[in-house]
């Protein structure tokens, strides 16, 4: 099963505090272990929300709001996509992550919807499209 493992933002990441050399190295080693174990599919850091935007949807209305966004707890600072046996395996790997932030922080682990979850809603057209998307993501 695939999961997204999100690093929640903190005041530090929002202010653009960069990881130390030590953290870059520790995180690099951790990512290598994840790759070797066949767990890590991808991972990235997101720039602070001062560089982000939100679009509010309300019926046909679209309103654009510039960052920064004040509620840090609402923000993602980084993420991985992992292939794991189950949530327990994801949790064990997450616990081994080096502290991603200078102070206290939180990782959130959320399973992906897969085709099997959609039941009858997944018509052949939808499954085909989903599979083409999967193939394409693998090649990028």
């Amino acid at each position: 099963m695939r999961v997204m493992v999100m690093v929640k933002a903190t005041k530090d990441s929002e202010q653009g505090v960069m990881p130390t050399t030590e953290l870059f190295e520790a995180m690099g080693k951790y990512n290598e272990e994840l790759v070797k174990a066949g767990i890590m599919l991808s991972g990235d850091g997101l720039k602070p929300s001062s560089q982000g935007k939100r679009i509010a949807f309300d019926g046909p209305k679209r309103s654009v709001i510039d960052g920064p966004f004040a509620e840090t707890r609402e923000l993602v600072a980084g993420y991985w996509i992992w292939e794991v046996k189950d949530m327990a395996e994801a949790v064990e790997w997450a616990k081994r992550c080096p502290n991603p932030m200078p102070g206290p922080s939180e990782l959130e682990i959320r399973p992906f919807y897969e085709m099997a979850d959609f039941g009858e809603a997944a018509t052949p057209e939808i499954v085909d499209r989903f599979e083409r998307l999967r193939e394409q993501s693998k090649n990028r």
Binding site: R54, P100, I109, S137
Partner: protein, 119 residues
């Protein structure tokens, strides 16, 4: 540049069972347009936070908490990764997205750190 385009969760997505065929089809058509334009890198939905967990880090301590998590505004319901020229292009594409939720909703666009940013 790459961006992560995040669909923020709502009470509806948190209480959702299976997505409906019509919604999947509409979003699928939008994803097709993104793909044809060379924008789409990846697209996925996340199950409600009742299926999720959080791991709190504090020094050497690790504390695991089971979902669900009450503050929907803190949650990601779905996401894309897009390759775009700039934020303005990303915004234009997001505006064309079908309503991702039954009611009002929000999509957040965040640029991704690339190696070239650290050079």
């Amino acid at each position: 540049m790459r961006v992560m385009v995040i669909v923020k969760a709502t009470q509806d997505s948190e209480n959702m069972g299976k997505p409906k065929a019509a919604d999947l089809a509409e979003m699928g058509r939008f994803n097709d347009e993104l793909r044809k334009a060379g924008v789409l890198l990846t697209a996925d939905g996340l199950k409600p936070s009742s299926t999720g967990k959080r791991v709190a880090f504090d020094g050497a301590k690790r504390t695991v908490t089971d979902g669900p998590f009450a503050e929907s505004r803190e949650l990601v319901a779905g996401f894309w990764i897009w390759e775009v020229k700039d934020m303005a292009e990303a915004v234009e594409w997001v505006k064309r997205c079908p309503n991702p939720m039954p009611g009002p909703s929000e999509i957040e666009i965040r640029p991704i750190w690339e190696m070239s940013d650290f050079a």
